[in-house]
Symmetry: C2
Subunit: 433 residues, 2 copies
């Protein structure tokens, strides 16, 4: 038996706003940041669980405070007992009635719970000596179902239905695991398309993306229609007539604006329109999906929980589901999201980028391929070549595909030197705000 | 000209779980708490703005940290300029792109913004020498419209439509103000119905509620159907066949459970079913509303923002809107909610209780009566006789009606002695958790 002895947090910030990397119509000057948590035990193996919530700067201290508020729920617990029933571990945090009042299941407190749950998964995968995707894909369907909190889901997905989906995917697990290790997982790149870039830089990065083997690029839109028409024209000419170009409005529009704007950009053949409006607006997304058809609507990076994802699927409001590794209540809730997507036949193309999101979310897509949807068709993971050097097991993308990670753990551990160098001192990033 | 010189916070907690006051199917042991903020200026008038976020215990420190994160946005600002355009003041906080990532517009960060906005309204009303309800009801329709953030609302409510609603209500303002001051505003009481109470206490409190002149009582349900049938029977016999009894499940159910459970309780003629399921589940509420008709569905105390309220109205999912004073982005967003309710013809019956929620939310209902909906028909404010003694201008309810407050301010200022006595020392409440 071993015991959790500490839950340590760090406020880690990178001054990315200085370069306008990551600039879009709603987020003009993000400072990519991580509210970082490390769980330590007294076990002889010396293994630690690491995870984080990604934020874009100010407020990262609030996110750290929320993780700190969970410390008392964990320190002193029996590690083996906790890790043996990760469904119970997740519910123990999510269903704390007093903390639940601060959401429920949304925003700062919910993301903090997600980070702690993910740190436990990192520890469990390290103990199993496997990358998280393979560890999850090795669990039997019954245990996977036990991880999911079906509260508020059963009108769309019951435990029995989830079990049936997982059992259907069981026969091919071995072959798909081998195929995944051999070929990796498709990626697309957002690198060319940030709003802050010049036209010349946009064109050069579009050509490089195609040359690098990516299967899709994505452009930020929504600040100015004339600019968007010009930039999409540049991109379309650079990549050729058939190469997929997704567009991303980062919640900029109301419903009528979204429909008019996307239809104005439709001649450029967008692969999808991402985040056309508020992530809370299920009915708005449904109206937009009807109004811009056949352009698919994609959303999810700001969707607060499985209950909103459920409705987006029920309403036909979302043709591409974009889970985010650190927005919801951790691996457990994202397994619920993957099962919902499988039930409704919607492809999952995760949001990534920021700091560490590629490292984290690739495990979920790869698990999905092996054990849930059983396919990579129409699926790809977002990729931004940025800040990977700060991770112990950095994401590798080769010829437009994520190289399947084989190191033990969830991929969410930062290098000690990076943690030390980027722990926030207070004024350095904030002062420029 | 004067300047904001400080934004001070306090973590205030009351050990209410010791008495099982406030116990329900989802919140078995709340410790009513306030993340409290005081805004001070260097003006000669010495007036301060006070407000808070209500929480139920653990995590109140996180809520305080979120308010602290807003300090840098306020200290040093010109007070007169800020208070003269409260729409801009609200958007300045809500649209901070880095803080927005932590929601957007939901949970801990959004509630913190609400508290700061409300503290500014408290200060502004004190400077105007009027209670907040009267101050708001004295503003011209154009200024009221300027307070509302219409982003994500225009598919349901445009600024022109809001202006028309407010102009329609303008002619009778003087008469309704006089009537309100004379008669007060209807209240209903939740005091009898907490789950933790014995049958004898339930029956006694039901009889007292009728004798005290309340127009409705409310019972918590959802933990055990047999218990609910027994308790509703006791309550119905105590109050007589025609007296309204609302029931409140505090988000306990999935959709099918809600429909079955409410239909099983339908013979007792519930006045409404409150929070049958997740506050995020618009489509679920719509399905429940269809399934339990003619029992009206009420919700709102955990609805995160105006965007979710908009959809509940669009979907016909909510027949009674229950705004909460400290759940959303403050007075400004609640004005948006009142206008949405008016547009869709749905009555607003606010959630209150906790600590200070009665004091705060009465101003919104009274403003609604004078300047928005123009009616009290089918409207009432929840009332719980609890913790009012800690406020400088405590709520008064006489013969089942809120006595219209006439003191200057928003009602949200706590007594210095109460603040001092109940500032959280760390272990006293938490240790029993």
């Amino acid at each position: 038996m071993s015991t959790i002895v500490s839950v340590d947090t760090r406020d880690i910030r990178f001054p990315t706003s200085l370069e306008l990397d990551g600039s879009d119509a709603m987020n003009p000057d993000p400072d990519y940041s991580a509210a970082y948590v490390t769980i330590r035990t007294d076990a002889a193996d010396g293994l630690e669980g690491h995870a984080f919530v990604f934020t874009i700067g100010r407020g990262n201290d609030v996110q750290v405070a929320a993780i700190d508020a969970l410390r008392a729920h964990l320190v002193g617990l029996d590690v083996e007992e906790l890790l043996a029933d990760m469904g119970a571990a997740s519910r123990r945090l999510t269903h704390d009635s007093q903390l639940r009042w601060l959401g429920p299941e949304k925003g700062v407190m919910h993301m903090a719970i997600g980070a702690v749950v993910d740190a436990l998964w990192d520890l469990r995968a390290k103990r199993a000596g496997r990358p998280l995707w393979l560890h999850l894909a090795s669990l039997d369907p019954e245990e996977l179902v036990s991880l999911v909190d079906f509260r508020y889901l059963t009108d769309a997905l019951t435990p029995d239905e989830a079990l049936a989906i997982l059992r259907d995917a069981e026969p091919g697990r071995t072959e798909r695991t081998a195929h995944l290790i051999e070929t990796g997982y498709p990626a697309y790149t957002t690198t060319p398309g940030w709003l802050g870039y010049s036209d010349a830089k946009l064109e050069r990065l579009c050509r490089e993306a195609v040359a690098d083997g990516f299967g899709q690029i994505k452009l930020k839109v929504g600040a100015d229609l004339d600019d968007d028409v010009r930039r999409l024209g540049i991109a379309r000419r650079a990549v050729g007539p058939d190469f997929p170009i997704a567009i991303d409005a980062n919640q900029r529009w109301d419903v009528a604006d979204a429909i008019a704007w996307v239809n104005a950009l439709a001649p450029f053949g967008p692969a999808w329109i991402e985040e056309p409006t508020s992530p809370d607006d299920v009915l708005g997304h449904a109206a937009i999906a009807r109004g811009v058809s056949p352009v698919p609507v994609a959303t999810g990076e700001h969707v607060a929980n499985r209950i909103v994802f459920k409705q987006l699927l029920q309403a036909g409001a979302m043709q591409v589901m974009q889970i985010d590794a650190t927005r919801v209540g951790g691996v457990n809730e994202n397994i619920a999201n993957l099962l919902l997507a499988a039930k409704f036949g919607v492809p999952v193309c995760p949001h990534a980028g920021g700091v560490g999101l590629c490292e984290a979310v690739q495990h979920l897509s790869m698990f999905d391929y092996v054990a849930v949807s059983g396919t990579m068709d129409g699926r790809m993971i977002e990729y931004v070549d940025h800040l990977h050097e700060h991770f112990v097991t950095p994401t590798e993308v080769v010829r437009g595909r994520y190289v399947t990670p084989m190191a033990a753990g969830a991929g969410t551990e930062m290098r000690p030197a990076s943690i030390a160098a980027h722990t926030w001192a207070g004024a350095d990033v904030e002062a420029r705000a």
